[in-house]
Structure formats: C-alpha cells, structure tokens
C-alpha cells in the first residue's frame, strides 16, 4: 500500500540558491504531518512544487498513485489536493461566503448548493457569523481562517496548510488548532507548515524538518525535537 502523497528526490534551484535538494517524503492517508524548519528552508517551495505552481529541476511527485508533476494547479486541485497560501489570497471584492463558494463549486456545481456547502464549511471553521462581510474587511488572522475554509470547501483528500497560525494570538491559535483537529477527524490528510511549535506538537503525529533545502530529520514530534541536528539547525538551546 503506497502513501497518499509521495515526494521523491525533489530538487529546485533559484539562481544561486538551492531551495530544495533531494527531498523525499511520504504522507500516508489520514496522517497529520508537520513540516518545520527555519525561514528559507524550502518549505513553501515544496508546497508550490507539490501543488503545481512551480516546476522542480529534478524528482517526482505522486498523489493517490498518480504522477502529478507537470499538471497545472487547477488540475491538481481537482484531484483532491488543496492548498492555502502563506500570504492569504482572498478574493477581496467577494463576501466571505462567496469566497468559500468558489471553492465549493469543485463539489457542487449548482450555485445554490455550493452556497449551502459554503455556509456549512464556514460554520465548521468558526466563520459563520462573518458570512456576508466583504473579504477585504477581515483581519489578517481571519483571512488565514478564510483561506483554510476555502480550501476545505473543495473537499480535498490532502490539505496543505502554509502557516495558518502565524500572527495569531494564543486564543486564536487554540481555536485554529481545534478547527484543524476537526478537519483531521473527518478523514482529511494534512501536511502543515508551521512555526508555532505548540500547535505542531498538539496536532502532528509526525514531523519532518527541512534545513537549507534538505530533509534532515523525520519522526515523532518528541524524537525530532530531541534530534541533535534539528536542535542545531533550528530549535537552538531554548527547546526544553
């Protein structure tokens, strides 16, 4: 039985910067995997390659048994691989509900049913009360939540979350952790980039660490936190 997402020997260079260097990573169906590493480690580049926004120089990406390298982003999304953007990208002129509706069309082509699905997802992600607000009026934290809701509305099998907790206050982080836990409970597989370590420790069954474009460790959160290479690269002395 092969993993839902298989990343093999992925490399990507931007001019003089080796953003990814021979990265190999598996994510199994139903797993919640954390992807951590210092800024510039290549995490977002990895997401961009897997979701079809960037072409790697070398390597292979298989999703649900299909080679997805070379497919355009919309085709990969339709296969059930959704992503959020690190810098939230709402449709500013549309309402919150309409934003999510755009994602819901992937499952419900009729506008009325797409709207109903959007409202359900908004309730699930705690945005129900904001449904009729224009998206441009949302705070940064809520925009990230909207980003999550919109991707979720496409009904993905695998959801790539890029720092949905950055910039949130502790109460908001706690809320978002609960939302993600709820999503995982519905059987959606999750791969998340996150700097908020408390959230990673709570959510993830497994953690992978990128450093200078290389995967330097992978395993349970506790094992990774104790790995000396990880401590050197990223966590430093303060990690207790």
């Amino acid at each position: 039985m092969s993993a839902l997402l298989e990343v093999r020997d992925l490399s990507k260079r931007f001019g003089g910067l080796q953003a990814l260097s021979g990265v190999t990573l598996d994510v199994g169906e139903g797993e919640v995997v954390g992807l951590i590493g210092p800024n510039g480690a290549g995490k977002t580049t990895l997401f961009a390659v897997v979701s079809g926004f960037l072409r790697p120089d070398r390597g292979r990406v298989t999703f649900a048994g299909r080679d997805v390298l070379g497919l355009p982003p919309h085709a990969i999304s339709r296969l059930g691989l959704a992503r959020t953007f690190q810098l939230a990208q709402p449709f500013p002129e549309l309402t919150v509900a309409e934003n999510v509706m755009i994602g819901a069309f992937a499952r419900e082509p009729a506008p009325r049913r797409a709207r109903r699905r959007a409202l359900e997802v908004l309730a699930l992600t705690g945005l129900g009360a904001l449904a009729e607000r224009p998206a441009r009026a949302l705070s940064v934290g809520l925009r990230k939540r909207l980003e999550l809701a919109r991707a979720l509305a496409t009904g993905p099998r695998l959801l790539l979350l890029d720092e949905v907790m950055a910039g949130l206050d502790p109460a908001e982080v706690e809320e978002t952790v609960e939302v993600i836990r709820g999503v995982a409970a519905t059987g959606v597989t999750l791969l998340l980039i996150e700097h908020v370590m408390a959230a990673v420790m709570q959510l993830c069954g497994r953690v992978a660490v990128l450093h200078h474009g290389e995967l330097i460790a992978a395993g349970s959160p506790a094992a990774v936190a104790a790995d000396p290479r990880v401590v050197d690269a990223y966590l430093g002395e303060e990690m207790g």
Partner: protein, 311 residues
C-alpha cells in the same frame, strides 16, 4: 424593490415611442441603449473577468462588416449575417484570447495586444478593395423591409435595440449568479487563488472572451443597419474601442447595471454639451479622456460603486 424599479423603467422605455413623437428623443434613446448594449458586451470580459480590452472595436467591426458584406455580396438578410458576424467574432476572439492568455498576458499588455489586433483589421480593411477599402461599405436601402433589418420608421430600430439590450442585460444578470460568473470574478480578483481552488483561468478567460466578442459583433450589425454605413475607422478604429469601454467603466464595470447607467449619464452629458462639441471638432474625445481619467482615479467601481458606498 429593485425588481419593481426595473419593471417601471422598462414600462417607460416601451411606452415612450407610443406617447412621444420626437425623432430626436427616439434617436437619442436608441443610441443610449446601443452603447449600453456594447458596454454590456465589454463588461463580460473587462468587468467580470477583469481582462481590460482596449480593442473591442475588433469585434464590433467584424460584426458590422460581415453582415453588410453578406447582404451586399450574397444577398443574405442581415438578421442572418448578424449571427455569421457573431460567429466570426467569437472565432477571432478565441484566437486573440488564446495567444494572450496562453502566454499569461495581463493588464496593460493584454489591452495593447487587443488594440494591435483591432489596428491590424483596420489597416487590412483600409487596403482591401473587396471590402470597400478606405471608403467603407454602404448598405443598399430597400425602403421599409423588416426581413432585411431595414425600417422606414426609426421607432422600429428603437424597439429592436431595446430588445437586444434587455436580452444582454438579462444574460449578464444570469451570468453574474452562475458558476461561470463567480469563476470569472475569482480569476479577476486573484488568479493563483482561483487556480488553487480548481478553476482553470485560461478556460474561464477564453469563455469570457467568446461571449464578449459575440455580443459586441451583434452591436456592430445593428450599427451598420441603423446608419447604413461603416468604414474602417468607424468599425475597427481606436476611437470606437474607447467608446465601447468608456460607459461600463464610468457606470461600474463588473456590475449588471453599470453599462446602462454609464450610457445614460454619457448620453445626457452628450446632449448637454452638443453645441460646444459640434463647434469644436474632436472636443468630445478630450471630454471622454478627462472623464475616463476621473472615473479610473476617483471611481474604481464607477458611479454604481459611489451610490453603493453612500447607501
């Protein structure tokens, strides 16, 4: 409330020619409807899908020339030629759209490519004797011949234009509530985010281009039947492209009522300044330029946006 308002406006529009015998009023209103119709065509691509075309005269000219040529050279009724023109405009739209969107042209670059295509057609028409070269085409008059899109009484043109405008506006209103309409807006607002949600931006933009081109070409056929004349500048010229985009932008691009409001406002302005403008040739173009700048800088969502903000 809005439905009742629209029904009242429609009742007035239908009733005016029955109650008033003013050629001037009928003619002015016909042109207001006509430009609103063209604006509605531009609005699909430029407003909803956010692809700012500076060369929609391309499609207008194709519509006008095709139906006129089909009538003059082959005796086709312009009612039929109108659809041939629309089909040709869609085909040309798909080609220009493919060339632009396949290579990711956006904003000013797309606008300029559209202008360039329209100019190619203008220059070609100017130098091609079979299509009348620089003189253009005169539609031979057959008196009152409704089957040939020719009417002895201008009120017929008024009702034809009103019906076309109603159909286009109802179509755009339906589009705005449809999946395709939402996808167009999503692509306009953020193409990468739209793609991440499973929308194919290339396909959506191409569809918008096809609808927009076909509608604009139908406007071209109406023009050539109404004025019995078209030449390369009137058909494909940049002035015409500006005429087409000015009203939806002024009224509110990407809204159902924007092109109608913009056309009504500009129609009133045109009548108010008529004396001034006829005395100084070209003045109306300067006026348009100034209006366009004001609208783009101060009214990002047109007059409709201003009204909505107030309410």
């Amino acid at each position: 409330m809005r439905g009742a308002g629209a029904a009242l406006l429609l009742l007035i529009a239908v009733g005016i020619p029955l109650a008033v015998r003013s050629e001037w009023l009928i003619g002015t209103l016909t042109l207001i409807y006509f430009f609103a119709f063209l604006g509605q065509g531009w609005n699909i691509l430029g407003g909803y899908a956010g692809q700012f075309s500076f060369g929609h005269a391309l499609f207008f000219g194709i519509g006008a020339y095709t139906s006129a040529l089909a009538f003059i050279k082959a005796g086709w009724s312009p009612w039929l030629g109108m659809w041939l023109g629309a089909a040709l405009a869609v085909a040309v739209g798909l080609i220009t759209g493919h060339l632009s969107f396949r290579y990711g042209l956006r904003g000013a670059y797309f606008a300029l490519v559209m202008l360039a295509f329209a100019e190619i057609f203008r220059v070609a028409a100017t130098n091609w004797a079979w299509v009348g070269a620089s003189f253009g085409l005169l539609v031979p008059l057959r008196g009152h011949a409704p089957a040939l899109f020719q009417f002895g009484d201008k009120r017929w043109f008024y009702y034809v234009m009103l019906a076309l405008l109603l159909a286009a506006t109802a179509g755009v209103a339906a589009l705005a509530r449809s999946r395709l309409g939402y996808e167009m807006v999503a692509v306009r607002e953020n193409e990468a985010a739209a793609a991440a949600l499973g929308i194919n931006p290339y396909r959506v933009k191409l569809t918008a281009m096809a609808l927009s081109a076909g509608l604009t070409a139908i406007g071209g056929t109406f023009y050539v039947q109404y004025f019995s004349y078209v030449d390369p500048g009137i058909g494909f010229g940049p002035t015409n492209s500006v005429e087409i985009l000015l009203r939806p932008i002024l009224g509110g691009a990407g809204t159902v009522w924007g092109p109608l409001l913009g056309s009504a406002l500009l129609g009133l302005l045109g009548e108010a300044t008529r004396g001034l403008v006829t005395a100084h040739a070209g003045l109306h173009l300067m006026l348009y330029g100034a209006l366009l700048m004001v609208a783009v800088v101060f009214l990002p969502h047109g007059v409709i946006g201003l009204l909505r903000r107030r309410s």
